[in-house]
Symmetry: C2
Subunit: 401 residues, 2 copies
């Protein structure tokens, strides 16, 4: 029944699908001794019992509504809860009409690419940028123009150059994708000045900004800066958020915050039946009672893990010219390998030591990243973050000269 | 913050989004006395307590895995359960590698349109066809060629004509979208001969078939016929399914069954994080113990509701030339209004009587359907199906000459 030859359907593929290089599939295989690759939340922090209780209470109170089709824009009390969350953590005032629920943050972001990007359309993103979104960008066939990230965040002078160059060619930039907080993977948080400059550029060049903020609540130190969405007064910013990092990625609940006129265009690519009516209710019943205390606990947990990882790295790499990011929040450390280290040798020794990490090249749309690696301190315990960091650091040492 | 003018972003929209006519938004408003419009499952049949128990048991047994990111193709035990379901209900043998989980059946179907349809590409569908998929088809900008449905299902001679006409123009038909069982809205189940003819046409003209089967298990009488997927021996059929009608639409779990070589192309449009790891586990824990008995109960419930609705309609419309479908399963009755009835008057009188239904035109890609209406017997109780049917039938009577 599955005798399809490639030739049978290749000519039927849509232009976006033709860009695919299929194959690969899920990695699978053995679990590494130190899982420092994906941005998996801390499994020990999941509130199992409370979620079961929330489910029972929700089913009793909501009845059949929880098991039937839902609202296209998402469960209203969840959208209201998200508004209160922004109010509490950032002092940002939005209404539920600005919130559009999706099946996780990656799905939410994909709605913006679906609404605005045709194959061949120009967009701007950082290099490095989040590898998951890079997949989405490629799937939409975007023509990707990159700008660097430095210690102050996205380099806005480079954004201006890219926008100006596109204008000379008579082309529009469809959107600028950026990660202003605890940049994934590079680490920096964009300064207020960079944020203001980016907004001004979007206004001047009539483009949109897609602001990815999956980790904003998980700030270990320093004061939160206003989001791009908050700074914009002309409705050109679309922002994503998620419960994946503060409740559980398995719920698959993310969202976009967008100026109301854009919402129907984004929602149009969310096909059928309303989004997550069941899990949205569970998340709402749990989070409305627990979000503040739970986030506070998570900040403690991840701060300690970050510190453990950086301590482990420093212990071994002190005296080398390795560059190790110091993120103020989020899940990741970004390392520039010492000049003398051979990246292929690092990969081989890390594999032998049982350390899984993500090679830097995965975060670059075109070339680059060969001398970087990303480590996640989110998934493993504090102890294993320390031990795993030392293990990869010894791999790096071992690959030097 | 939401001062975006349409002009600010209209020029940035993707070609598919430019086809949208935004506005409208959710209907909302008062709940009608008789909700006979959407295909909402019976709220009284939801297994509340069992689902809460399944959630608790699942959380205990699966631990953190349930709350973390999932497999891109979907939770393996759910895919295996779906294989066993097909084996039990139809004798169809497939493997979990043929199953791709999605967020409901509409989302699953949208993956096929994303993978195969560019703006302007030709597809064939029935007229009438399922209105939800019609939205998806329009969102993808397909050039829709229609074929009629008669008492034996899709009219394959018309399919041949459309395929031949496209070939003369040098164009491919990207896919044929069809609902072979208890056609929604028209009612008929495609005969074995029609199914075989359709497969042969897909082979001859090198196109794909997208087989929508959301209701297959809910057969009240007659023997199930082999699916198009089962009849095809060249891997050109993609089939959708869902738990929405047999467990709860709020779970948002649907799937595609596809020849393995097509799966990566379909999955590519399922962005990020794995599909529904949490609800997939709940559904699996409940269904693996209960699916056979629960489906048997639902068949009884919906059969009685169908009978009640048809009895109510016949009681009032006997002696008119109204045509009332007699579906062997599913959720819907399709009515051709009596020649003498004025459709606008029917709508007005039905509104006054508190009956919500779907006008026939909603199911037609182009013109047509003005003299049809669709009623759902799925949501209301048996008694209200009978009373609501009489109420709409009196509205029809009242609109006659």
């Amino acid at each position: 029944m599955t005798t399809t030859s490639e030739a049978t359907f290749q000519h039927l593929l849509a232009s976006r699908a033709k860009l695919m290089r299929p194959g690969g599939g899920p990695g699978g295989g053995q679990k590494p001794q130190y899982s420092l690759s994906g941005g998996y939340p801390d499994p020990g922090s999941f509130p199992f019992d409370e979620l079961v209780q929330a489910t029972a209470r929700m089913m009793q109170e909501e009845g059949a509504e929880a098991l039937n089709y839902g609202e296209a824009q998402g469960y209203l009390p969840l959208r209201e809860l998200i508004c209160r969350k922004y109010q509490h953590f950032e002092g940002l005032e939005i209404g539920p009409e600005n919130v559009l629920i999706a099946n996780g943050s990656s799905h939410a972001l994909s709605l913006a690419f679906s609404a605005f990007v045709d194959v061949g359309d120009a967009i701007i993103c950082e290099a490095p940028t989040f590898s998951g979104t890079l997949n989405t960008i490629r799937r939409h066939g975007a023509d990707v123009h990159t700008v660097p990230v430095d210690g102050d965040g996205i380099v806005t002078s480079a954004v201006r150059e890219q926008l100006a160059a596109l204008r000379v060619e008579g082309r529009s930039c469809k959107l600028i994708y950026t990660l202003p907080n605890f940049h994934n993977p590079a680490g920096p948080t964009a300064t207020l000045q960079r944020r203001q400059e980016l907004i001004a550029l979007a206004h001047e060049f009539e483009t949109l900004i897609l602001e990815d903020d999956a980790y904003g609540e998980l700030r270990f130190e320093g004061e939160p800066l206003p989001s791009l969405y908050a700074l914009d007064d002309r409705g050109v910013v679309i922002r994503s958020g998620t419960v994946s990092k503060i409740l559980g990625a398995g719920m698959r609940i993310g969202w976009l915050v967008a100026p109301a006129p854009l919402v129907p265009y984004l929602q149009a690519f969310n096909f059928g039946g309303g989004v997550a009516p069941f899990t949205s209710r569970i998340a709402t019943y749990y989070l409305r009672d627990h979000i503040i205390e739970h986030v506070a606990q998570l900040v403690e947990i991840y701060r300690r893990k970050r510190d453990a990882m950086i301590e482990g790295l420093n212990e071994v790499l002190e005296g080398t010219d390795a560059e190790i990011s110091q993120p103020q929040g989020g899940f990741f450390v970004w390392i520039k390998l010492p000049t003398a280290a051979d990246p292929a040798k690092v990969a081989q020794l890390a594999r032998e030591a049982g350390v899984a990490f993500v090679p830097g090249a995965n975060f670059f749309p075109h070339d680059g990243g060969e001398r970087h690696i990303r480590l996640a301190y989110s998934y493993e315990t504090e102890e294993k973050c320390f031990e795993g960091a030392k293990a990869i650091a010894w791999a790096i040492r071992g690959a030097m000269g």
